[in-house]
Amino acid sequence: MRTIDLAVTPLRELNSELHRQSDGTNEAEWEILNPRGQHAVAVGVDAPIKVAVRGPVGYYGGGMNKKATITIHGSAGPGVAENMMSGSVVVKGDASQYAGATGRGGLLVIEGNAASRCGISMKGIDIVVRGNIGHMSAFMAQSGHLVVLGDAGDALGDSIYEAKLFVRGSVKSLGADCIEKEMRPEHHTQLATLLDKAGIKDVKTSEFKRYGSARKLYNFNIDNADAY
């Protein structure tokens, strides 16, 4: 295992070392000590390595991750795992706003709560949040899944496209063009798979409701102007 202590090693050196890793690397396990809320920790990784971050990170932790399995043993600042392509990012604590923003693939698991705009503009990423999420989450969400075991704040799924949202608790309000939808058998299967991937075994898929696009705002109609 490679250990890098950010108390003594500059961030540039850490990311540069991580970028040197490729598919067949022998250095498959990494530990990052003392992140102390630094921004852009372990960003742009493109190799199937495991990275354990021992402490809280600032903005964009694990940003644009490809292939790597990154675990943050602490809380994460804004934009954790933003634009993730593949692999996974697990946040053991809470996550600030824009968690998983624009993510195109991979799995983001937040074991605590996520603040506002979780999954904003998501494009294929799967996000599982054990706690609650804040307002305007899944805003303009295009594709992928957002699973919330707790409650969702105001305007969930505003202007949503084809992403699927599963919420176990209450939803304070739904955003424009977002509606509750029937949980059909295939959705139970999808949700069960996501929960399994996130290592969550203590809830049942029957406890969730599904939300998605009413698809009424896909083409502009002046009589829908009040919805905007």
Partner: protein, 444 residues
């Protein structure tokens, strides 16, 4: 003798003119605002309102075909490990695949490469055609993040964080259903045929303090190699430029209201943002006040059409310019040879601006495969290269006449203004006087 009351000559209102009334009727009939492409069409103070003084007794000129006059420009010297060097200070502005056909994007890349300059992606991501044909490619990082991925970021030569554009400062992108073809839909992860409205703000940062951190992330991901641009619309250029410097830009792209767009509301294009001429001096002033003029390079765009415009922008303090609409004209947009087809669309060559409808007879602003096939990327690219070379020669002509051995040595003292408005905006004297409105002086 009998007097007849002479009839009153019919008089149309200057307020409710023909165009205004036709817009009222159109709005009443359709219930939707007018959407179109291009930039502001109204007449605003512009580079035509400035003149170069030329050399005479107090300065001596350089020989037109003998003495060197450099045109190269290096962009991204502040932080990037790999700044780019261009042979000409005229670059190609960001335009998306989606708004433009793949053939048009390829032609832009080819033309820019022959002329030794850069071209830029747009909302919708990078296509292999444009990367393949562009020696120097700037990758736009936009609020929508359509097609955005770290592989393309690394393939790019520069990254341009788009905060705004001159046609619509404060507005997001728009691509209507007619142009969301299978390929465009796939690149943007959207259902085919929907009206796509891109966000006007970035999803994961707000304000210059956040942007500084976002730029740190982009630099870390690309190992501090690429120059990072920030593109702003002509809103509050002094403060916007100062904050862009603070946020860590290597290069600032400043786009005035004549800058084009693929599609936006007419009311937005014509009524929001400042003319390009009014934006340059406050922007340069901000750079000078921060001691960053020439260290953070300034690219000006919005209504650049010829070498004179380029020379004037450089004289006012820009390091380079970008062209968009003019480049499309060079490719063949609005060509009178297509007049019959423009007539069928209810318009005329030179006025066609319904780019969002995707029916461009020139094969440029369309996703219709048959129309797009009309544009030969090799031939159109050559035309663009010719146009870029002509403009570069024109800038050299003016620079030599003003006694400069590099186009960057052009300066405000080389200029005078034809109108009081232009004198105030460009902060150069009204012709025949030493009066710069707002800056004291007077007499002769």
């Amino acid at each position: 003798m009998t007097y007849h009351n002479p009839p009153t000559t019919p008089r149309k209102s200057a307020t409710l003119d023909d165009y205004t009334m036709s817009e009222i009727r159109r709005a009443a009939a359709t219930g939707i605002y007018d959407i179109r492409g291009g930039g502001a069409k109204r007449k605003v103070p512009h580079f035509d309102d400035l003149l170069f003084l030329g050399a005479s007794m107090s300065r001596y000129p350089l020989e037109g075909y003998r003495e060197k006059c450099g045109t190269s420009v290096v962009l991204g010297t502040r932080f990037a490990k790999k700044p780019i060097e261009l042979k000409t200070p005229i670059t190609i502005a960001g335009m998306s695949f989606g708004s433009l056909s793949a053939q048009a994007k390829e032609a832009l890349g080819r033309g820019a490469t022959i002329a030794g300059t850069s071209t830029t992606t747009g909302d919708g991501g990078m296509t292999p055609e444009e990367r393949g044909q562009s020696k120097t490619l700037v990758y736009q990082y936009l609020p929508s993040r359509y097609g955005m991925n770290p592989d393309d970021l690394r393939k790019a030569d520069c990254i341009e964080v788009v905060v705004g554009q001159g046609a619509k400062p404060g507005g997001g992108g728009m691509l209507l259903g007619q142009k969301i073809s299978d390929r465009v839909a796939e690149m943007r992860t959207l259902p085919k045929g929907i009206d796509q409205r891109s966000a006007c703000r970035h999803p994961d940062w707000t304000g210059p303090d956040d942007l500084e951190i976002k730029i740190l992330e982009l630099r870390e991901i690309t190992d501090w190699e690429k120059p990072i641009y920030i593109k702003i619309g002509g809103a509050r250029p002094y403060y916007d430029v100062a904050l862009s410097v603070k946020a860590g830009a290597d290069v600032i792209v400043l786009d005035g209201m004549q800058g084009g767009t693929a599609a936006t509301q007419e009311v937005f294009i014509e009524h929001v943002g400042q003319p390009t001429l009014a934006c340059i001096r406050p922007a340069v002033q901000a750079l000078q006040d921060l001691g960053m003029h020439r260290k953070v390079q300034l690219i000006v765009s919005g209504g650049i059409r010829n070498g004179a415009d380029v020379a004037k922008a450089l004289a006012l303090g820009a390091d380079a310019v970008a062209i968009g609409s003019a480049a499309l004209v060079a490719l063949g947009d609005n060509d009178p040879a297509l007049e019959e087809e423009y007539n069928k669309l209810g318009t005329t060559a030179g006025a066609y601006d319904d780019w969002h409808e995707g029916r461009c007879p020139a094969g440029i602003t369309t996703q219709d495969p048959e129309l797009a096939m009309r544009l030969d990327p090799v031939r159109a690219g050559r035309r663009l290269a010719n146009y870029l070379k002509v403009m570069t020669l024109e800038v050299q002509t003016i620079a030599r006449a003003c006694g400069h051995n590099h186009v960057h040595n052009l300066e405000p003292e080389d200029l005078c203004a034809l109108t009081i408005e232009a004198a105030a905006m460009a902060r150069v004297p009204l012709a025949g006087t030493n009066w710069i409105p707002g800056f004291g002086g007077g007499g002769f």
